[in-house]
């Protein structure tokens, strides 16, 4: 006969979440010290799909490295490529035609909407609601079709070139994008009706996982993690680049600091991205999409250069140390989720495990982007 199992009040045990756990959305592992349902301590273990992009950056020439950027964040790849091309253009003084910059901004924003849609579906699925994912993927499919028509790929785009883009947008794309905007606005209303007001959903997020602005600063958090904690920080506004100063859009900021605030920021961001796409299509100038003369060999002069951009996941920074060769001397990729994920260990102490998993979902993790 089994003897009864008795737990002492302060007895803790170690719970291993991942690296193959569905709630982590990738190969992420968290070692948690638990007291019953409560987390006493947590340690995040990353690096399961580390590919050493930074070393590849030192070995490959500048154009060869273009395709690596989209292998970092597979949901919002274009934002990362944008940072890379802007940096190399700045360093080597390549002029970009205005049309190309507009096309880039439109594409990046479309990609941002598709990334947020996937996050929305997956996040609600984490909390137990399955159907929103199906709706979200249906909308996302329209974006992927549009992007496929122009860029030739659906996920790992290699569309931007130094000085412009690889392919011009055609009338088909423009009319599809114009049709998409009202459709997406209608869908957003549907999502709010279906999910945002849902009492079960709200109870799981409201007041859960408060992140103070001070903590965000110490960890260098960005994107919805910072903006959900009352920090008005969006690289597109704070450090304008490309043609973003030409667009009229708002940066949603919520001051509740909880998981719901982070959800609200991203939902509102989709609407703002639609506004940018709309204005971009209206303003899209005629002209070349690649510069007429561009250097055959890209060799930025010696020195170091930094470029930050706002991707779907936050402030992505890229630092280049050049010695004037055709490969970079050093290329550092600062990924936003790396910093956002880092604060999880400290923030989840004392939380119940199901709240912690909801919190993890609200961080919008893409593991290949953390591991690089």
């Amino acid at each position: 006969m089994n003897s009864p199992i008795e737990l002492q009040p302060d007895e803790t045990f170690i719970l291993n979440v991942g690296p193959q756990h569905p709630a982590t959305h990738g190969v992420l592992r968290v070692k948690m010290e638990m007291n019953g349902e409560y987390i006493v301590n947590a340690e995040t273990v990353i690096g399961y799909i580390h590919r050493m992009h930074e070393k590849m950056g030192e070995v490959k020439t500048y154009p060869q490295f273009l395709m690596n950027l989209s292998r970092m964040d597979y949901l919002g790849a274009l934002g990362y490529s944008h940072g890379h091309v802007l940096l190399v253009e700045k360093a080597s003084g390549i002029e970009v035609p205005e049309r190309a910059e507009y096309i880039r901004a439109i594409m990046v924003e479309l990609n941002r909407v598709s990334s947020h849609l996937f996050w929305f579906g997956a996040f609600v699925m984490d909390l137990g609601g399955f159907s929103p994912l199906m709706y979200a993927l249906q909308d996302r499919e329209h974006i992927l079709d549009m992007l496929e028509g122009v860029t030739g790929s659906r996920l790992t785009y290699c569309y931007f070139r130094f000085g412009g883009v690889y392919n011009d947008v055609d009338d088909e794309f423009i009319s599809a994008a114009r049709r998409f905007i009202p459709r997406m606005r209608k869908s957003l209303k549907k999502y709010h009706k279906l999910v945002t007001g849902n009492i079960i959903f709200r109870k799981r997020l409201e007041g859960i996982a408060p992140l103070t602005p001070e903590m965000c600063r110490k960890y260098g958090a960005s994107s919805a993690v910072a903006r959900g904690s009352g920090i008005n920080f969006d690289v597109r506004k704070n450090e304008p680049y490309s043609v973003y100063p030409e667009f009229d859009f708002d940066v949603p900021v919520f001051h509740e600091c909880d998981s719901l605030a982070r959800y609200n920021v991203r939902m509102e961001e989709m609407e703002q991205s639609l506004r940018i796409i709309e204005q971009g299509l209206d303003k899209l100038p005629d002209g070349p999409f690649m510069p007429e003369k561009k250097p055959k060999l890209i060799k930025p002069p010696a020195g170091d250069y930094y470029q930050a951009v706002e991707t779907a996941r936050g402030s992505f920074g890229i630092r280049l140390v050049s010695e004037g060769d055709k490969t970079p001397y050093r290329l550092k990729l600062r990924s936003p989720t790396y910093s956002n994920m880092h604060l999880f260990d400290e923030a989840c102490r004392g939380m119940m495990i199901m709240d912690a998993l909801a919190f993890m979902g609200s961080l919008d993790l893409v593991i290949p982007e953390i591991d690089r």
């Binding site: 990353i46 580390h50 070393k55 960890y219 920080f233 930094y306 920074g317």
Partner: protein
Amino acid sequence: MICEKTKLALQNLFPAPEPKEVVTEDAGDEKGKKVPKEPRPNGLLERDYAVHGYHLDAQVSPEQLLEAVTILDEAEFFIESITGVDWIKEGQLEVVYDFSRYDFELCRVVIRTRLARNAPEVPSITGIYAGANWHERETHEFFGIKFAGHPYLVPLLLPEDADFHPLLKDFKA
């Protein structure tokens, strides 16, 4: 404003004897790599934001590092990243700290420090910025730089038993 203030505060780190401590860099000092360059002395440089993407560039000695980072912490900078650069020809390793602010007044600051390549050691800034933890672990495994006072300096992205430093220039796979 913030940039000016930070500049003055960082300037105090460097004693005055040499008068030309702040050198406003002309945008085209990129003469080419053939000329062997003098190692840069510690000091503060103002950079052209439009070219380099940051405003202030302070090279400090490892002993001054904590002081410099404290100045930035008090001015409410957030930590962007930490990384290393292997200057193999000069026999030095460089640690580069990027800082920026959640503000519309743009000011990007780079703190860098040079270490001897054979025994690279620098104080950890995790006591000031908790978020430096992973960045320092990453720099440690990629370059073999020791961060003194780091609470848990084990490989982060590489396997836990990795005893190589892949971003060193003399690393052969």
